[in-house]
């Protein structure tokens, strides 16, 4: 005998749906219109939906706070042998609508896109505020074309190394938060023009003169008015001379009695856990912005350069 779920009182149906994983609720909603209505009525609310677009693979994941996203549905045409591009538009739209209605989702969602699919006709997902680009390498012009379709995006993650010259009208410069996993020379180039709040870049190739200029411009309010933090994790071959970075800058010793010694950056990523950053008097200096006396701490060592503006 089957267990007649629809014959249970509503409160029991609701508890059963809450006991299921997201992918199971999704599968249940495909059984019938009535079952979909039951799943909607169960009011499972989700903080973040991720749409993932990769060549031959489509995924929709759901991310709870402080946990990794959980796949709600995954279609892998390499394994199923389906010819996805032929049914792409209809399938994508149907999946998108099903998930959106199932979880009554009204919050901004996130988009994860692979560089191997970025030049394909990716459907425009509405209400996206975060994009995560991954893949081997990325041409800036392709990235710019893609990003121009998403003017509301505030947080951008770029995993591959970016190749190309940054212009003053670049879409990336409109972002509030940018994270570069493989920065190389692009990170320093972006830092020099950055208008946003946070910039994290890993594997960067930057010079002492570039960092010195960056600090100087901030102190003189010539740029970086919105900046909250800038992090350059250095490539192995990049060795900085601290004295040259702070050369001729008016710095103060870091005072742990005035500043907190740990700072937590919220990366808002689907798969990166933010660890608290330690500040201490041995590797840190403070600088003060002339105009408003705002203070920032600089941490420099052989691995990284961190610049944190205190509120």
């Amino acid at each position: 005998m089957s267990i007649p779920l629809l014959h249970f009182p509503y409160v029991v149906q609701e508890a059963i749906f809450k006991a299921m994983d997201y992918c199971e609720v999704f599968a249940m909603s495909l059984c019938s219109k009535r079952m979909k209505h039951c799943a909607i009525r169960a009011k499972r609310r989700v903080p973040k939906i991720w749409y993932c677009w990769e060549k031959d693979i489509r995924r929709i994941s759901i991310q709870e706070k402080e946990s990794l996203p959980e796949d709600c549905i995954r279609i892998d045409c390499k394994n199923t042998g389906q010819n996805l591009p032929q049914i792409d538009a209809a399938l994508t739209k149907a999946l998108y609508e099903q998930v959106k209605s199932l979880y009554q989702h009204k919050e901004p969602c996130a988009l994860e896109v692979h560089m191997n699919a970025i030049t394909e006709e990716v459907p425009i997902f509405k209400n996206v505020n975060m994009i995560d680009v991954f893949g081997e390498s990325s041409q800036l012009k392709d990235l710019e074309t893609f990003l121009s379709q998403y003017p509301k995006v505030d947080t951008l993650w770029i995993r591959p190394c970016v190749h190309g010259e940054l212009s003053s009208s670049s879409e990336i410069l409109k972002m509030g938060n940018v994270h570069l996993s493989n920065s190389r020379l692009f990170g320093p180039s972006l830092l020099s023009e950055f208008n946003g709040r946070t910039l994290d870049s890993f594997n960067s190739l930057i010079t002492e003169a570039e960092l010195n200029l960056f600090i100087r411009k901030w102190m003189k309010s010539e740029s970086y008015h919105n900046l909250e933090s800038a992090v350059m994790s250095l490539a192995r071959e990049c060795v900085l001379n601290t004295n040259l970075v702070i050369d001729q800058l008016e710095t103060e010793a870091f005072d742990h009695t005035k500043q907190q010694q740990w700072y937590q950056i919220d990366h808002q990523s689907r798969n990166i856990v933010s660890l608290p950053i330690p500040f201490n008097e041995h590797e840190c200096y403070d600088v003060v912005r002339e105009l408003d006396k705002k203070r920032a701490s600089i941490l420099i060592n052989i691995y990284e350069f961190r610049f944190l503006v205190w509120n």
Binding site: I3, L5, I16, S32
Partner: protein
Amino acid sequence: MSVEPEVPIVQVEEVRENPVLYKIISSDNHVFTISEHAVKLSKTLWDLITNLGLTAENALDNPIPVENVNGKNMETIVQFCERHKYDEEEPEYTNYIREFVLPEWDRQLLSIDNEELFQLILATNYLDIQKLMDYCCRVIGDMAKDKTPEELRIIYGIPTDAEDDALERSASDSPGPSG
């Protein structure tokens, strides 16, 4: 007819330290004895006991009839409540029901056929036993793991849209109550 349920070991300790016991009569007239700590897990029963003003002195002389629950389900419920009567309160967080680990003892207790499980859930809902409800729903939710919609339709007895439409049509076509 009177059937005394198997007395769990924990109940012996209960009797020693807390002699308050209550009698419950199921819909098919089976009589069960349950300790005060255990019966408190059922909000319905405890409200009833409180409203009836049952005390340590008169509890056993005033059995509580529960007409919506048969003896078989009541036996499972009493076993469950006696087993969990000293449990600490479960943490309340959004995903608790799908993240807790179902203890082996309870998994065994709930390894019953679907018809029995269905009836047990209705009884649990009526008696308002939150913990048992969470455990039962988790067992039912786990049945959906790695299943296709077609398989789910069979497991949960879900009619297709066409069947639902046909049912709706026949309900609207049938004459209403006369007079």
